[in-house]
Structure formats: C-alpha cells, structure tokens
C-alpha cells in the first residue's frame, strides 16, 4: 500500500520533470547547468575555506598550544622570526617548568643513505625534544613512541618514508645513515608514524632525538645559529600574559649579550593562528592569509548567487508566460491554483536534479581535479569528516530550498488580470526586479573580472620586472656537501670546458631568494655613526658580477689580478651607499663573518653596484655587502650562465660533469627564474583559482543572459517587427536589443569600479613594487563584460535582425 503510494508520487514527479524539460529545454538546461556550476563552485570554495581554517585544530588541547617566536629590531631593521634561540628553552623550563610542556624542533636538511651509494636529499629532517610527542601526539603505525626520542641517534619516521626506504620490511630497529660532512651518522628507527595530515603547519618526515646533536654537532647549542621552532603547551588555567612576561625576563637575564643587541621580544603565537596569520622568517612552509581565504569564500558565494539569480529570473519569466497564457484563455480559477502547485513542484525538481548532479560530479572530479587545485583533502578524507559533509549538505539544501520558494512567490504575486487588461502600472515597474537581479550579477562579474586581471597583472609584473641582473639562462648547482664546497674551483674549471657555458660563479646565496642571504655585522671605521649594522651579505667569487651582468655604478669589479681582493675588497650596492651618504669608494669597512667562530674581515670599498633585486619585489632593495668568499662555509651555490638553445641538452652535459665530480650525491639544480617565480607562488596560486572560478562565474552569468535574451526575444519580437515596418535598420535593431543592458552595465560599472579601486590600491600596498592598475584596465573589464553580453545575446540578436515583420504582425 505504502509502496504503491510512493511509487505513484515518484512517477508523477518524474513525469512532470520530463515534461518541463521537453517544454523548455533551453530554460531547464540553463537552470540546471547554472545551478550545478554554482553549487559545485560554492562547495569547493567553502570546503577550501573550512580546510584552511582547520589547520592544527585536530591536535588535542590545540587551544592551549603556542609557538614561541621572536621579534627583533636592530638598527632600524625589524624582523619577525618564526624560530627562537635554542638555549632559551632550558632557562625557561627552569623558571616555569611545572606550568607548561616545552619542546623544540630544529630543521636539519641532509642526505640520507640506506642502501650502499643510494643517497637522497631529505629536507624535512628535524631534531626534536622528546616532549614534542606530548605536545603533538602522533599516531603510531609500527614500533612505540615510548622512549623513542630519549637516546642519541633515535629516529621516528613517517609511514611514506618507511615505505620509501624499507619497502615491505619492518623498519623498527633498522638504521639509516645521515651524511654529515666527513661523518656518517647511523640512526636507529624507533617508530613509524602516520604522515602529517595536510592541514598542519608542521612539515617533517623524520624526527631525530635532539641528544644526537650533542654527539656530532655540539656547537648547535648557540644563541645565534641554528634556530629552533619552540612549542609550549599550557595548562588550561595557566595565565598566558604572566608566562609571556616570565619568558621575556628569562630571555633578558640569560641570553648572551651579543644576542640581546637585537632587542629580542618574545611573542606567543596560538597554534591554530599560525596557518592564516603568521608570515614570519623561516616558517615551516608558506602560510595562507585570512584575506585570501575570505576572498575565495566570497567568490564561491558570488557564483552561487549568480546561479540562483539566473534560476529565479528564468523561472519567473517562464512562469509568468504560462500564467499569462492561462489568464488569456480566461479559464483561471482552479486552473490557476493547479498551475501554482505545479510551479512549486517544478522549482523543487529543478533544484533537486541540480543538487544530485552536483554531488555526483563533485564525487567524481574531487580527487583528480579539486584536491590538487586547492592542495588539500581527498574525497575519502572529506567523507570521513562526516560532520563537515553534513553541514555543507545542510547549508546547500537550505539555500536551494529558499531559492525554490522564491520564483513561485513572485509568480503568485503576478496577477494575470494585468496581462489582459494591459494595466499601466505594469509598464512602470516592468522587469525592475529582474533588472536589479541582473545588475547584481553583472556587478559581481565586473568585480571578479577586474580582481582577476589585477592578480594576473601583478604576478606578471613581479616575474617579468627587470630585477637588475640577468636571469634567463641561469641555473645554480647547490653544493651538496663539504667535498663540493672544498673543490668548487675544480668544478668551475671542468664546467668551463663546456662550450655553451658562458660563465660560472660561486655564491653564498641565490639571487631572488630572500632567505638565502645571511645577515652579518658591518662596520665603517671612518664613520663612527654607523657602527655595527646588520646587513645582508653576499659571498662570491671574482666572476659573479659578470655572470649576472650586474652593473657597476662606480669603482671596479673584483679581480684575480689583485691578490688582496680575496680578503680586503668589498663592493656595496647603491642602497647601502645611499644609506651612508657621501663618497664611499676607498673607505674602510669591516665585516663580521661567522665561520664557527667570529672572523672579522677588514678592507676597503672598491666598487658600488647599481641596485639589483636580490630579494623579492615585496621589499625595496636593502643595503648589501658583497665580498669574496674564501671560507668554504658559505659557498652554497655555483651559478652557471648557459647559452640560448636547448636547456635540456646543456643541463644533461652539466649533469654528467657533476656525476664525475661528486660520485656520492645526486645533483641539485636550481633555475634562477623558477626560484624567483616561486617567491610569488601565492600570487600565482590565488590568481589561478581566481581565474578559474571567475571564468566559471562569467559563464554562468552569460548562460543567464542567454536565457533572458531568449525570453526577451519572445517578449519583444512583435515590437521589433513594428520597428522594422517603421524603418528600423539592422543597426537600429541591434541598439534596441542591447539598450536593455545600458543601465545594467552602467550600474555594474558604478558599483564595481570604486570597490575594485579601493581593494586594488589596498592590496597593491603590500608590494614595494606594484603594477599600475590604471583606468585602461577598468575599460578592458568593461569591454570583456560587453563582449560577454553581446555573445550571449548574439543568437537572439540575429533572430531579431532577420525576423520577417510580416510574420509577426499578422492581424488575428
């Protein structure tokens, strides 16, 4: 009985659904496609938002965990570091031991060897205090966390690394050797843990016991270098501000005097704020920003809004047409009520169909496309988080439910008598509601078009702006080990044999990669006011300026002809010169270099170079001191200038030279252009997502415009016939059709332009070097919008132009 009833209802609904599609394939198709795109875009961007706000909140007591970081100011240069000095923990622990759990993690990239002669670079290798396992409890797959980081040379590895190094074998108790210069350190695997989820700011594959460092690198226990990520888990009732104050006091009383010169200031960062609010020096990995994800969420809402507006506009237009037909037949009454009931069913059916389709499509495209795009969850991970899924589903159901009501409500309000009696009021506010909605759509489209243009243009500007050095044919070999560093001159000589290599130069940093520049103390004995400034430095060999075509403003380049250049010559950049003022050539300069111990180089300024952007365009050019680097410690890269032509061939040749040079390690090659571009990765990623969804939103808006044009043609065909009889040319008709959009486009410009102007100036303020997003861009945006309108109206436009008035003006 019950079954029959349900089946009857189902059949009935299905019949109606099929009927609507048959009657109005265009309207129904547009509605469904638009809604599906809207729902998908919104779901994706909402889930992205949820994903980005979920960082690190899965750790138990996440709200009580903090990262202890340092702000420092030295001679006017302000720096926010994500890391703290290593000895600080012990003093702090002594002071407040019972109130919190403290642990450090020290990143220590290196080469790992498992089988003979198989070495691979592991960048996510850290040394940590055992308490880290209390603060961040980890899921064990094999072995035990009990005493797993207590003794020297204990090692915890992630599941995927276990698979990579040990395959099917049980890794527990096995050893991996870590290449540390002349030493080979043997670590014993104590536990295998789950890989880090993507939504944590932490980024490690290996955790080794910190006691290991005491054994092979006791110098690590320094206030200066290296530095550690320092985490604290507070008791729930602990008083944060008093703990911060104690920390500052502990630092001020116990730190080395030299360290205190930088006026370090302790900052406790809540763990869950890190991913969206922190952008400090030396982060684990690049973080996101709240503005960015808000923007994306807004984008998702916009697309859904555009789709819902389409749906409302098209459905009301269609419903009204049918009401009018019923009305004209003068058989209203019950038939009208029936019709309204049917409108309800139809509205819901369209929404239900779109909804089911969207979910299906999402399930299919999530893993291969979306999770890559937004760099996150796979669908199975999402489904496991069923609460989230339920919320998203619920939100969508409510939204689309409301959207389903609206067209019928509007239609009920529409009185069919008006249609017959040709009431005056009808023309006064005719389509005002529809025009308002369409104006909203196009305003949104305009905003999206302009913002996308802005992102793309700024990214293009940043990556194509001349940084003041040549970079297009430049690669750099990263020195893999001490052998490389000691013998870099031999490598240079061997590479010079290759005919296509124009130049090679050793350096301590990669141009464009801010973090690779070491800051050291500089003194100018002739200028007592400028004692002890920390400036970025660049240790090079004599070929560096030539290799990168860096221009000298005055003085001379380093030269092998002056043997004293190797220790007594310095070149500074124009920004440094401007900072100091006056004639600088020949002045005395002293540079402190840390080579395990402090070494002070004394010499003279022999040249001043034009400013080049050795850091990103986010910043203006800092002062820079360039010196000849003889000490192996900072010779980290060998830069190579190639020739135009096949990069692949040239690199292959370089690789075979390197293979013979260093038989132990794989070659690590950096492309200078790529390194520079990677600085602007966030702009690129945002730009890509914006572009994709903007195109989608414009497509949805264009679909709506197309549907309305169809409706409008039906409404206006007779009028167009009359106009033709009155002598309207094709041009007149075109204008007449597009005139409807004049107000809509004007509103779009008036509402979107000031907003975009405000937002763009604000955003571009983040950059020391910003593209000029001038009026022309706004006009291009307008042009794109007009083009979209014309294209979506093209079919109806041609129909209007070609229509034969005789057919539309038959007197019945």
């Amino acid at each position: 009985m019950k079954v029959n009833l349900n089946r009857g209802l189902w059949n009935h609904s299905l019949k109606i659904a099929i009927r609507i599609f048959r009657q109005n394939p265009i309207f129904s198709g547009i509605n469904v496609i638009g809604l599906v795109l809207g729902i998908i875009s919104f779901s994706v961007l909402l889930l992205y938002y949820v994903q980005e706000t979920s960082y690190d909140d899965h750790f138990p007591n996440a709200e009580n965990i903090y990262r202890i970081t340092i702000n420092s100011t030295e001679d006017g240069s302000y720096q926010e570091s994500a890391r703290s000095p290593i000895p600080f923990l012990d003093f702090y622990h002594e002071a407040v031991g019972s109130e919190l759990v403290l642990a450090r993690m020290i990143p220590w990239p290196g080469y790992l060897k498992y089988q003979a002669n198989q070495k691979s670079k592991e960048n996510q290798f850290v040394f940590a205090d055992p308490e880290i396992l209390d603060i961040f409890p980890m899921e064990v797959r094999q072995g035990s966390l009990e005493n797993s980081l207590q003794a020297p040379f204990q090692l915890i590895i992630t599941q995927s690394k276990a698979l990579q190094y040990f395959g099917e074998q049980n890794p527990i108790g096995q050893t991996l050797s870590f290449d540390e210069g002349s030493d080979e350190l043997s670590f014993t695997v104590t536990a295998v843990i789950e890989d880090n989820p993507f939504n944590t700011h932490l980024d490690f594959d290996f955790i080794a016991s910190i006691k290991s460092l005491d054994q092979f690198a006791p110098w690590y226990y320094s206030w200066f270098y290296p530095t550690a990520f320092l985490y604290a888990r507070l008791e729930p009732e602990a008083n944060l501000s008093s703990l911060e104050k104690v920390a500052q006091d502990v630092l001020n009383t116990n730190a080395k005097p030299g360290y205190l010169d930088s006026n370090p200031e302790i900052v406790f960062q809540p763990l869950t704020d890190i991913h969206l609010q922190s952008n400090r020096q030396g982060e684990w990995k690049p973080n996101n920003t709240q503005i960015n994800i808000n923007l994306f969420l807004l984008l998702g809402m916009f697309i859904l809004l555009i789709a819902i507006i389409n749906y409302v506009n098209l459905t009301t237009a269609n419903n009204q047409k049918r009401m009018k037909e019923i009305g004209l037949k003068k058989t209203m009454g019950s038939k009208r009520d029936q019709l309204i009931q049917q409108f309800f069913v139809e509205s819901w059916l369209i929404i239900a169909i779109s909804f089911v389709l969207s979910v299906l499509i999402l399930l299919i495209i999530w893993d291969p496309l979306i999770s890559k795009l937004i760099d996150g969850n796979t669908i199975s991970e999402l489904l496991v988080n069923y609460q989230l899924t339920i919320w998203v589903l619920l939100g969508l159901i409510v939204t689309s439910g409301l959207a389903g009501f609206y067209p019928t409500l509007v239609t009920i309000k529409f009185n069919p008598i008006d249609a017959i009696k040709n009431n005056i009021g009808k023309y006064m506010n005719k389509g005002i509601q529809r025009k308002t909605l369409v104006s909203t759509q196009f305003s949104i489209s305009m905003i999206l078009i302009l913002i996308t243009m802005l992102l793309i243009q700024q990214y293009h500007y940043l990556t194509s702006k001349n940084p003041g050095f040549s970079k297009d044919y430049h690669v750099a070999i990263k020195m893999a080990d001490d052998h490389d560093i000691q013998h870099v001159k031999e490598l240079k000589a061997q590479l010079s044999q290759l005919s296509f290599i124009q130049n090679t130069a050793a350096s301590s940093a990669i141009l464009g990669l801010s973090e690779s520049f070491h800051g050291f103390d500089v003194k100018f004995p002739d200028r007592p006011n400028f004692q002890g400034i920390e400036w970025p430095t660049l240790g090079v060999d004599e070929d560096f300026l030539k290799t990168f075509d860096i221009k000298l403003a005055s003085g001379r380049d380093f030269s092998k002809d002056y043997i004293t250049d190797q220790s007594e010559a310095f070149i500074i950049n124009r920004s440094a010169a401007d900072h100091l003022g006056g004639e600088l050539l020949g002045e005395n300069i002293e540079l402190s270099i840390y080579t395990g111990k402090r070494e002070i180089r004394k010499g003279k300024i022999i040249g001043i170079v034009e400013d080049f952007h050795f850091k990103s365009f986010y910043q203006s050019v800092d002062p820079l001191v360039i010196y000849i680097n003889q000490h192996p410690n900072f010779t980290d890269f060998l830069n190579i200038k190639l020739s135009p032509g096949s990069m692949a061939d040239q690199i292959e040749a370089i690789e075979s030279v390197y293979k013979a040079f260093n038989t132990d390690k794989p070659m690590e090659l950096l492309f200078i252009n790529d390194e520079i571009a990677s600085t602007y990765q966030r702009e690129l990623a945002s730009g890509k997502i914006m572009l994709l969804f903007t195109v989608l939103s414009i497509f949805v808006a264009a679909l709506g415009a197309f549907g309305l044009a169809t409706h409008s043609f039906r409404r206006r065909s007779k009028e167009m016939g009359i106009r033709k009889v009155l002598g309207a040319s094709s041009g007149n008709i075109t204008l007449e059709v597009l005139k409807e959009y004049l107000i809509i486009v004007s509103i779009a410009c008036i509402s979107a332009w000031p907003l975009v102007y405000y937002l763009s100036s604000k955003w571009l303020d983040n950059f020391a070097y910003a593209t000029d997003f001038g009026f022309v861009n706004y006009l291009i945006g307008l042009l794109i919008l007009i083009l979209v309108i014309v294209i979506s109206n093209l079919h109806q436009l041609i129909r209007s132009i070609k229509l034969n008035p005789v057919e539309y003006l038959k007197d019945e």
Binding site: N422, I424, V725, N732, N804, D811, E812
Partner: protein
C-alpha cells in the same frame, strides 16, 4: 507610381505549391486612392505587403516609382520602404512601452531626422490630429479609435508618398471608422497615394477605385462612381 506585372506569390510545402496571388497585374498612379476588397484569405494583406516592400513576390515584376524593386537587395528595398511608405494596421501595432509622442517620433528617428525638425514634425501632426493632450499617454490608456489615430499619425509623420492601410477600421466602431476615413480622404486630397484594404462598402466609397480580389486573382477593377452618394457623417 506602382506597376505590378504578373505577380505570383506562393508557398511551397513538400509536394504542393499553394498560390496566394496569381498573375496580378495592377497599375496605380500617383495620387490615387485605391480600395482592395475581397473575401478573407483572398490574398489582400499579402498583396499590400508586397506593394509595401515588406514581402517579396515569388515571381513577376514590381516597379515602384519606376524602379524595378524585384531586382533590389533587401537593404535597398528597406531604404525605399523607409522613405516613401507608411503603414496602418488593423490592430494598430503601437509600441506599448512608448508614449504617443514617442510612437509617432520613432519613424523619424529611423529616418535620421534631427532633433529640432523632428520635434516640429511630431508637434504638427499631434496638432493636426487633435491629440496634443494625449501625447504623454501610453497606448493602453487610449481608446481603439484614438490608438488608430496615433497609428495613422505615425504612418504619415514622415510624409510618405504612399500610405498602405490593412483594414484600418476593422477593430473600430463605425463612428471611429468614419473619422479615419475622413482623414484618409483629406490626405489623399493633399496628394498622398493611398491603398487600403477593407470589407466595408461604405469605406470603399471614400476611395477613387475598387479592386476586387478573389482567390489571389483580380476579379474586377472599377472606378468609384463620383455620382454615388456619399454617406454624410
């Protein structure tokens, strides 16, 4: 002014050709006031549309003002139409969204007549037809007779040489119809060539010549006897 030689108009479907007009020969001189009569479906409207250059004959020659328009391209035909022909419809076909003033102004806009002159021309017509007070109303606010008056005003505001009217009084009371007919007579007296389609013998008497169309062929073509007593209105 108008010369039709062996005009055919037919519609082809799969296997058959349905003739709407067949072998029409008709000459209309400048200044004539011709009435086309005939049963419904005889092809009157079709003939009028062909004469008005809105439709094309399937065969035959059409000379309009000595020009062989059957050879002309669409664009040139519509130029001729725009400058020399005014149309009045049974259902008025005013543009609902436009006021009386704007409706009358529209053909002048399409003819490219500039602002001041255009205003003057519209004003003159409004005045002549006694509808100045109605100029800001929308069509739906007018009676049928008033709407048709606007229809005529719009048709002649551009001073066409030829006025075509397809059952202009078909939807009107006889009283309203008379007003329109008197107007036509006046316009004809001023030199405008008029061709009207009507079912009313009474209306036909206003013209100078009656063409009877039956089954797409001209059955008779007679002058209206001047002696025939006119209905006084």
């Amino acid at each position: 002014m108008i010369q039709l030689n062996n005009i055919d108009k037919y519609y082809s479907s799969k296997f058959t050709r349905t003739f709407v007009l067949k072998g029409i020969k008709l000459e209309i001189k400048s200044g004539e006031f011709v009435t086309i009569m005939g049963p419904s479906g005889a092809g009157k409207s079709t003939l009028l549309n062909i004469i008005g250059l809105l439709d094309q004959p399937s065969a035959g020659e059409y000379l309009f003002m000595e020009e062989p328009v059957h050879h002309f391209k669409e664009r040139k035909r519509s130029e001729l139409h725009k400058h020399h022909i005014g149309f009045v419809f049974q259902a008025y076909h005013l543009i609902d969204e436009l006021t009386v003033y704007e409706n009358i102004e529209t053909p002048l806009l399409y003819k490219g007549i500039k602002g001041k002159q255009r205003k003057a021309m519209v004003a003159e017509i409004l005045d002549r037809f006694n509808i100045v007070a109605k100029k800001d109303l929308f069509p739906e606010q007018l009676s049928g007779g008033q709407q048709q008056l606007v229809g005529v005003a719009r048709a002649i505001v551009g001073q066409p040489k030829l006025l075509l009217a397809d059952e202009p009084t078909g939807n009107l009371h006889s009283k309203q119809g008379q007003v329109i007919m008197e107007l036509f007579k006046e316009l004809n007296a001023e030199g405008m060539t008029i061709i009207q389609v009507t079912h009313s013998d009474e209306n036909a008497q206003y013209g100078s010549r009656i063409v009877q169309l039956v089954d797409g062929m001209i059955r008779s073509d007679q002058a209206v006897l001047p002696a025939h007593p006119k209905h006084e209105g």
